[in-house]
Assembly symmetry: C2
Homo-oligomer: 237 residues x 2
């Protein structure tokens, strides 16, 4: 059993038993006291609030409120995710039928780890607050058409993109990045890109980007028929 699986088991055990002891946990998940302690430290580091009472009659238990304070997806957000997918599908946004009758099966498979920790966190407490009757998606936002040509070239020819950027604090910087995707968080557009200088993905608000232009061929070569025919269309939705 790897450490992730064991940590999931610990969370389940805590949920199931309410309050337990280190030794009982060890018995339950089949690991030593020392390992359980290490895992609990890791889980706490991950944002799980696990209370521990020392002394005689002490024990370990999950904080019922912890879900609201973890850095993970909040319950409401996960719920929104699921509802989001479903309603998008219902409205014809999604050409796929992956989520049809399978319930959560696809979502389970889709989430990065094979066992869904965040869904498990969701399970801890379902409270989403009052629901409004209708989702309003008007004003999805628009991209400044002046930016389009440079972006289109960058994406289609897989070139680096260079531009000026004014961050949230108003500081002006110059970036050269590998454009990866365009995202809309209505009403704002974002460029998602790999920044080689910072060795990380960064997100740039489109309305803060100025004077973009392509600076370099990234060396992408079309070698196979599949590439000849399959240069992917970039569509700005």
């Amino acid at each position: 059993m790897n450490s992730r699986t064991r940590q999931d088991a610990i969370i389940r055990s805590l949920r199931r038993n309410g309050t337990t002891t280190l030794d009982a946990l060890g018995q339950d998940v089949g690991a030593s006291r020392r390992t359980i302690l290490r895992d609990i430290a890791a889980l706490r580091d991950d944002g799980f609030v696990i209370h521990a009472d020392r002394g005689r009659g002490g024990g370990l238990y999950l904080d019922p409120q912890s879900i609201q304070t973890t850095p993970r997806l909040s319950v409401a957000e996960v719920f929104a995710l699921i509802l989001g997918i479903t309603s998008m599908r219902a409205a014809g946004y999604l050409p796929f039928s992956a989520l049809a009758d399978a319930g959560l099966a696809k979502i389970e498979k889709a989430l990065p780890s094979d066992k869904i920790r965040d869904l498990r966190l969701l399970l801890d407490c379902l409270y989403v607050g009052p629901l409004a009757p209708q989702v309003d998606t008007s004003n999805l936002g628009e991209m400044d058409p002046e930016l389009l040509p440079a972006f289109e070239t960058a994406f289609l020819q897989r070139r680096f993109l260079s531009f000026g950027y004014r961050d949230a604090k108003g500081a002006e910087t110059h970036r050269t990045v590998e454009p990866q995707a365009m995202l809309i968080l209505p009403p704002l557009w974002y460029l998602v890109a790999w920044d080689p200088a910072r060795q990380d993905f960064r997100h740039f608000r489109m309305d803060r980007i100025s004077t973009p232009n392509c600076v370099e061929d990234t060396g992408f070569r079309r070698r196979r028929v599949i590439f000849e025919a399959g240069v992917r269309p970039i569509r700005y939705v």
Copy 2:
């Protein structure tokens, strides 16, 4: 560098370079040829379609179409997730303001792994098809009120729940599970529960559940003030 990070680096390198060789990849991500091969095997196992041409003039490259056939979230679904969250918030569904101006920051943090593989997959190709102008979330579905009392007791008192279940093929089974959450995938309700017999989480469509009742105290003990005051409210939204 751990294997996850290295595999991400491999995917990026493949994207950036179009076609490369094992040795070039090894140079790029700083690992041996053998390790690269192992990682590529793992990535393929994970659903990435990585073509390899043997022989002189061969090379490795990502299948541009692969994104549509992986078992992970499709691009459109990830997009729907993001749009879903945002529009839910805009409509007042979410009491939190976590996603306010932070763009994807919260989503990044929230996803199970510290670096978001699915988002990276999303980055590989952004194509969501034509968008409908309006999301329709009417008919969110309702729960059969006859089921409520047993479920309420099961959740509030943390008891096992026993019921008859007719699966998708019409087969009738009897289940005894630990109820974890209620989910709505409009218009359907689901019970999410840990099935001890199967040692896994299972999802049960509410309309396929019959004669539920609580069968056993799970041994949850209220030991601390925090539990006395904090028995979490289960609200059926």
